[in-house]
Symmetry: C2
Subunit: 162 residues, 2 copies
């Protein structure tokens, strides 16, 4: 994973938060280690990438930050037990990944459905054959991270049988 790939995710997170949430975000220093000491992941949205780049994008928040971010996104304080809460987190990781994907010029990248993980203090681990970069962000609702695990595809995307 080259440095340019990481800038795609910083730019797309910035773009989604600015345009969809009217919320400024400040990125911190990206780190090669997919654990940020003392960072509490209570709510994570994950989405798979396939094509010329194969990987996973993870958007993780402490619960209070997730509620604040979703309030800015939807205009409502959504109860975390509501399906609307997971839908909104899934939509956020979908928009960030979709906007980043559009920046991979000359590469074909597809994204999967998102899934959302709820559970106090969970960890989302990446497998060791992928390069993993974690980007910390700060916004008025608190701190959050975007984790990107990627490896080069072994072969091109299969073509549909005629």
């Amino acid at each position: 994973m080259d440095a340019r790939s990481i800038t795609h995710f910083i730019a797309s997170t910035h773009q989604v938060f600015e345009t969809m949430l009217s919320m400024p975000v400040t990125p911190g220093k990206p780190s090669a280690c997919c654990t940020v000491p003392s960072f509490q992941s209570d709510v994570s949205g994950v989405i798979g990438m396939t094509g010329d780049v194969v990987g996973m994008v993870v958007l993780s928040f402490p619960l209070s930050t997730a509620r604040g971010v979703l309030k800015a996104f939807t205009g409502t304080d959504i109860d975390p037990s509501s399906p609307d809460f997971s839908d909104a987190v899934g939509e956020l990781v979908n928009m960030i990944s979709g906007a980043a994907k559009a920046r991979f010029e000359g590469l074909s990248v597809s994204i999967s459905c998102p899934s959302v993980i709820l559970g106090p203090g969970h960890r989302v681990q990446q497998v060791s054959d992928a390069t993993c970069i974690v980007i910390p962000f700060e916004c008025p609702a608190g701190k959050f991270v975007v984790e990107v695990a990627m490896r080069k595809a072994e072969s091109a995307v299969g073509t549909k049988a005629a």
Copy 2:
């Protein structure tokens, strides 16, 4: 998601457990609701699908079952804090999804990198625009579930720019 798609995942789980772990598995009744009452998810492997089918596959275990399953898979009782533990869970969900993907005849399906979630009693929620089916399984190490969320792709997989 039609009933045949579900049989692909039942068959692939059976195939991977029989051939790679020498462990028989008994599938229970698949359910349209992605929560199994009283089921404890402590360890989950997730992997995205893209192409003609867009979705997410989730393999979830209580911790004791995950340890027993991975012992049968690797021959060792791996400490859950070791990267080998996540790698082995990731490899299992990768093999199950890969074997299921091979059964989608005439459809092009690609799978992403896996990610692994660790955390006692976490929930992996699917977004509401996807059809979600959960398949409970029983094996000598305990109970586990395979969850499949899928929706038809809105457009075909993009082709690489020349």
